[in-house]
């Protein structure tokens, strides 16, 4: 319902703005376009081209050799694993958080909204450091493992027997990544759900749908494009995160190095071709993300205009 209204409004305002835009002197348009294109070329296209240029400088053979290195493979695997855990976790959290923020009123709602933004506000290094402080051998977790008379002795014994490590191991990397990518899905959904309001859900409930049906058949289809978009952004950041992961990784080669950390190591070891080859893989992932994003935006506008023409 909200969809058609906004579309027709947008169409109207676009029509109103149309003639005015055309009346702008040509040189203004040319100047703005030149500035925009020059900026994009200089800051985005050029470095991207340089990455691929450097990666292929010694030929395709050397490029692919970079991926034959077991350390590189392990870094790629770790990055994909981390994203595979962090993204679904934040998907579930993001939907849950935006659902309760957008559809319900409760005490502390604004505090929750602010807290969700926290990872955007703090430096990634701090995000890493808090996990070292909490889970390090000198932190709470370490103290718990060394405690003489701990709470839940069975848990302590089990953790020791399993030799369960959090930081300088995969769990720490996943935790730090979840923390850093935590706002993406929720931030994308909250304004969308707030704009949509709860009318459709109320209608569904009065027609006899239960909570789960309401979510699955009414809410989810409405937010699906925003959700995709949030997940894509979240995934891009999860794969590319450097700072927080660097603090908790311990930099063990072939074990706790993610792709961005591996790139740094290769670069510092004068292995430029390999460094740029791995960077180009990261860049390719980013490009795929962008293409997916554009596709989703296009699908979104199309489904909207279809809806509009139906009604």
């Amino acid at each position: 319902m909200a969809g058609p209204t906004t579309t027709s409004l947008a169409v109207k305002s676009a029509q109103a703005a149309g003639p005015r835009t055309i009346r702008n002197p040509w040189w203004v348009r040319v100047a703005f376009m030149t500035i925009a294109f020059a900026f994009v070329a200089f800051f985005l296209v050029l470095p991207l081209a340089a990455v691929f240029g450097e990666a292929l400088r010694k030929g395709v053979g050397a490029f692919f050799l970079a991926f034959a290195d077991p350390d590189a493979l392990s870094a790629i695997k770790l990055t994909l694993t981390t994203a595979a855990i962090a993204v679904p976790a934040n998907l579930v959290f993001g939907v849950a958080a935006s659902w309760c923020i957008a559809k319900f009123d409760f005490r502390g709602k604004s505090i929750l909204t602010t807290l969700i933004d926290l990872p955007f506000a703090v430096s990634p290094v701090i995000s890493g450091l808090i996990y070292v402080l909490v889970f390090g051998a000198q932190g709470w977790y370490g103290q718990y493992l060394n405690a003489e008379a701990p709470w839940f002795p069975a848990l302590q014994a089990w953790l020791i027997a399993q030799d369960f490590k959090i930081i300088f191991a995969v769990p720490g990397i996943v935790l730090a990544t979840i923390f850093v990518t935590f706002p993406f899905v929720a931030r994308e959904l909250i304004p969308l759900m707030q704009a949509q309001g709860s009318d459709e859900e109320y209608a569904a409930l009065t027609l006899g749908a239960n909570g789960w049906q309401t979510f699955w058949y009414v809410t989810l289809p409405n937010i699906k494009w925003g959700l995709f978009y949030g997940v894509i952004l979240c995934n891009a950041r999860a794969m590319g995160e450097f700072g927080a992961v660097s603090v908790v990784s311990g930099h063990i080669r072939g074990e706790t190095n993610t792709m961005p950390l591996h790139v740094e190591i290769l670069y510092n070891e004068y292995n430029f071709v390999a460094a740029f080859a791995v960077s180009s893989l990261l860049a390719l992932l980013a490009l795929v993300t962008l293409v997916l994003k554009s596709f989703i935006e296009w699908q979104h506008t199309r489904s909207r205009s279809l809806k509009a023409s139906e009604s």
Partner: protein
Amino acid sequence: MKLSSLFLIAAALATAGVAAAKNIQLLNVSYDPTRELYTDFNRAFAAHWEAKTGDVVTVKQSHGGSGKQARSVIDGLPADVVTLALAGDVDALHANGRLIPADWQQRLPHNSAPYTSTIVFLVRAGNPRGIKDWDDLAKPGVSVITPNPKTSGGAQWNYLAAWEFARRKLGGDEAAKVFVRTLYKNVPVLDSGARGSTTTFVQRGIGDVFISWENEAFLALKEFGPDKFEIVVPSLSILAEPTVTVVDKVVKKKGTAEVARAYLEYLYSEEGQDIAGRHFYRPAVSAKAKAKYAAQFPQVELFTIGEAFGGWAQAKKTHFADGGTFDQIYAP
């Protein structure tokens, strides 16, 4: 408490059982410039150990600023051995968390320093600034690259070498402090580790002179060619003794004590010493390796940390602890 210690023993036994199998994994937590050295050495040791015992050893590496690496081990990075830039950083493993005994340095020959190094200057080809000795670094307009002594072991050697030079030349600690203050005014950026500083100087082209580990300077020459950089040897430098030790608390838990000790002892073997020399570290014990690589190392008057600063514990307290001389002279 009884129950949990029983569990501890069971856990130790279980992990020891795993370690006794054919595949052993060690983690060597090292400082920044040793990447290439240990990549080679790990291969050599794996071959040696397999020939001797039939077990396959994989040694994983982790590198970073020496102080930062020590901090990570204290925070729980499970290093079987540490091979750090200076005894002071290894001492921290005893002081915080009691990971090793106090007398760790007596457990291996040559004060647990299988190879030594020193501090030299790397300048751009042709030495356009005419850098010859430490006092040229404090001249106005000269841009000096050195890492942060708070996190990097190499940087502490650099700092102390400059200090001792000034103390001898100008007479007294007060004059040395003024000299070092002037020198650090010429430092545009403090990286956290030696390799970061090398990158700053070599690849980003920042600075006129880079106070560097000897091995790091040679490596830069090897990678980029002598037509780009030159090594300048000062009149006086410090005998840097990077030290190694087994981390007792970790190997006890993992059951890797024997192989970890053998790994470090192998650094003192003919092959280990030869590999060190090949990577521009000065072999400390083998006469053969010393003779073989003597020609590649410049002659320079070296002083030790013991004679000039009364050992690492003292030097750390005076210069690098919170409120030490570095904090007093360095204002970013």
